[in-house]
């Protein structure tokens, strides 16, 4: 893992001291709220519906046990004993008080963490494949590049006042687990003639105008990455619209000017600034890569694992659902579900955080990951340790075997916390998960991603959910729209809206109808919901969702 240099540590320390002083000046009246707001947002501090909210960066979703322990300590000392892991691989605290935030930031800095650029019109926390460095299908670990981008973008003087926020994601695998096509810039590591480089995707995004990113450069040599990124953001910084907040993201800039025009401008700018990058960035990258050297894997029998699979059906079910293939034989990637049926998606108590940290330390080469799907991952686990890990997780309510299934729901905080929300998300997620647990159907239904957003800004990624749910305020009543057929992977697509929305009381039965209907529509049990949707289209699902309309039309 990356370790702070003296420069990094001094930078974060100074930034925290500045923020402490800014808070003091706000409290004593020297700063107005209008003056203070941009300062607090630069440090991840929002004012939400019931309280302040602090969003802490977990760069590319990677952390060690000491950092996870510290997140738990902060939750106990300054919050209500839990944290909320987000769809951008960050953690949010929902209840801090203003005067405590500088102390929280200092506590984070002690373990090399911060909340810088988790908000505001800057380049945000860079996200990456949560299986990075472990996945069997990987070309290369994307995290060194993500760290390089973090260092380049942090406090970048040209990019502190962009037209709007700017999100970058990196994946090193052909199977895209980082939703790169729904980012302002998505980077896919690719190989050509034995040389590694990047496919650069630009102009993707969700929100009120969802768009799938377009390929700006199909092969960018590795050493050209930073100047090319700088050229893109620079072109956007000048061209992006500042007259209308809803048209300010780069997806609109690309859409309005056309991909060819943007490409020409980027290439022109790139040619101009490329000579300024003399190779220092590549030296830095080499140092960062050394920090991400793979752990010393052990070669040992997996008989304990195979015995446990044979004898314990609950363990087998969990192993079948929550493990992914590791690139090293004998190892597995463990995804710990933060989606126990009826729990708040992405929430972990301090006790759960400590257990996960201890398991990572003892069995997982001291590494944890946060996924954008709001789960926690132990990326490097020897299979012989899995039975012990499973029983420890189960005792702390973390043994749910539902990864990728209908109850593994992404949900934004919605109107239970968020000041921007138009409806609640969390109770809908809880009720869907509980209902399908009662029906004991989710393993029969198979892979199905439900994603719920509590407003048009789409933090819950509803546009790329196989089933997307968008909560709106319709004449003072919560109302939920359903979209179908979204996909956030390498075969990305935006879901289609089926029809009129449903009330809070109607939405759970509607989802049940939809899923039971899919079971009748699928050609065979192995055909997933998304495959069935792509085969039969919207109409049969529409007929299932709105039986009255069909009756009236008949």
């Amino acid at each position: 893992m990356y370790n702070y240099t003296d420069f990094d540590a001094a930078f974060v320390k100074e930034r925290n001291a500045q923020f402490r002083s800014q808070v003091e000046r706000r409290v004593d009246g020297s700063l107005t709220e209008d003056e203070f707001k941009p300062l607090r947002l630069m440090n991840g501090l929002y004012l939400q519906l019931h309280a302040y909210m602090l969003r802490v960066a977990i760069p590319y979703g990677t952390l060690n046990s000491r950092q996870m322990h510290r997140l738990a300590d902060i939750a106990d000392r300054w919050d209500k004993g839990y944290g909320h892991f987000t769809t951008r691989q960050n953690i949010q605290y929902n209840w801090p008080q203003l005067r405590d935030v500088p102390d929280m930031l200092d506590a984070l800095a002690e373990v090399q963490m911060h909340a810088i650029q988790t908000s505001g019109n800057t380049i945000r926390n860079v996200t990456a494949d949560h299986f990075a460095g472990a996945a069997a299908d990987e070309i290369a670990d994307p995290r060194p590049v993500a760290e390089l981008i973090r260092q380049w973008s942090t406090d970048h003087p040209e990019f502190q006042f962009l037209p709007r926020k700017f999100k970058v994601a990196v994946t090193g695998s052909p199977n895209d687990r980082a939703v790169t096509k729904a980012h302002d810039i998505g980077l896919r590591m690719v190989e050509r003639d034995g040389e590694q480089g990047f496919e650069v995707i630009v102009g993707g995004g969700l929100g009120r105008t969802p768009m799938i990113g377009k390929v700006l450069r199909d092969f960018l040599p590795r050493e050209d990455l930073l100047p090319y990124l700088e050229a893109i953001v620079s072109v956007y910084n000048v061209l992006g619209r500042r007259d209308n907040k809803y048209k300010a993201r780069i997806k609109i800039t690309v859409h309005e000017n056309g991909l060819d025009d943007i490409r020409a401008r980027v290439e022109e700018r790139f040619a101009l600034i490329r000579p300024q990058f003399t190779g220092v960035d590549q030296e830095l990258l080499a140092g960062i890569e050394a920090d991400f050297a793979p752990p010393a894997f052990r070669d040992e029998a997996v008989t304990d694992y195979e015995d446990a699979r044979r004898h314990y059906p609950a363990f087998r079910s969990w192993a079948d659902t929550n493990l992914s293939e590791h690139r090293v034989p004998g190892y597995a990637i463990v995804t710990i579900s933060l989606k126990a049926h009826g729990a708040t998606p992405g929430d972990a108590s301090s006790a759960q955080m400590r257990l996960m940290a201890d398991l990572a330390k003892r069995y997982g080469h001291d590494e944890l990951r946060i996924s954008h799907e709001q789960n926690v991952i132990l990326p490097h686990v020897h299979k012989s340790d899995l039975p012990s890990i499973y029983s420890a997780l189960r005792a702390e309510g973390l043994g749910t075997a539902n990864l990728g299934l209908i109850s593994d729901i992404i949900a934004c905080p919605g109107m239970d916390y968020c000041a921007l929300a138009t409806a609640r998300s969390i109770p809908i997620a809880q009720d869907i998960a509980k209902r399908f647990d009662e029906l004991k159907l989710e393993h029969d239904v198979g892979p199905l991603k439900i994603k719920i957003s509590g407003c048009i800004n789409a933090c819950g990624h509803h546009h790329v959910g196989h089933i997307g749910i968008l909560g709106l305020d319709r004449a003072g009543v919560e109302n939920y729209q359903i979209t179908l057929g979204g996909d956030g992977t390498e075969t990305a697509s935006i879901g289609e809206r089926v029809g009129p929305g449903f009330s809070a009381d109607e939405i759970i039965p509607a989802i049940e109808r939809l899923v039971l209907g899919y079971l009748d529509l699928r050609a065979e049990p192995s055909e997933t919901f998304l495959q069935t949707y792509r085969r039969v289209g919207l109409a049969p699902f529409k007929a299932i969702l709105y039986p009255e309309a069909r009756a009236n039309a008949a």
């Binding site: 004012l47 519906l49 209840w95 008080q97 005067r99 919560e478």
Partner: protein
Amino acid sequence: MPRNFTPKVVTANHLLKGDVIYQTANGWTRHLAEAEILTDEADADLRLIDAAQQTNVVVGAYLADVDVTGDTPSPTHFREDFRARGPSNYAHGKQEELRNV
């Protein structure tokens, strides 16, 4: 004919704690039931100006609609209902404080 002015309260977030507060005749309260009910538009505008000027106590003051039963205000919109109560996934926020009274 003057348009109908529906009853309102002045509400905001507390600067230090960040929680929801309501204006009373001579200060602020954390409970909607104790808020001052404003039934006159000109008066409401003045009270809001007064609240917005207290920048060292409150953030983001605005007028929120209420229904009035007897002397007690209650929210008309679900957003204000959540603000007055707290989140629905945990008994945190105001519902927690009320339970402890």
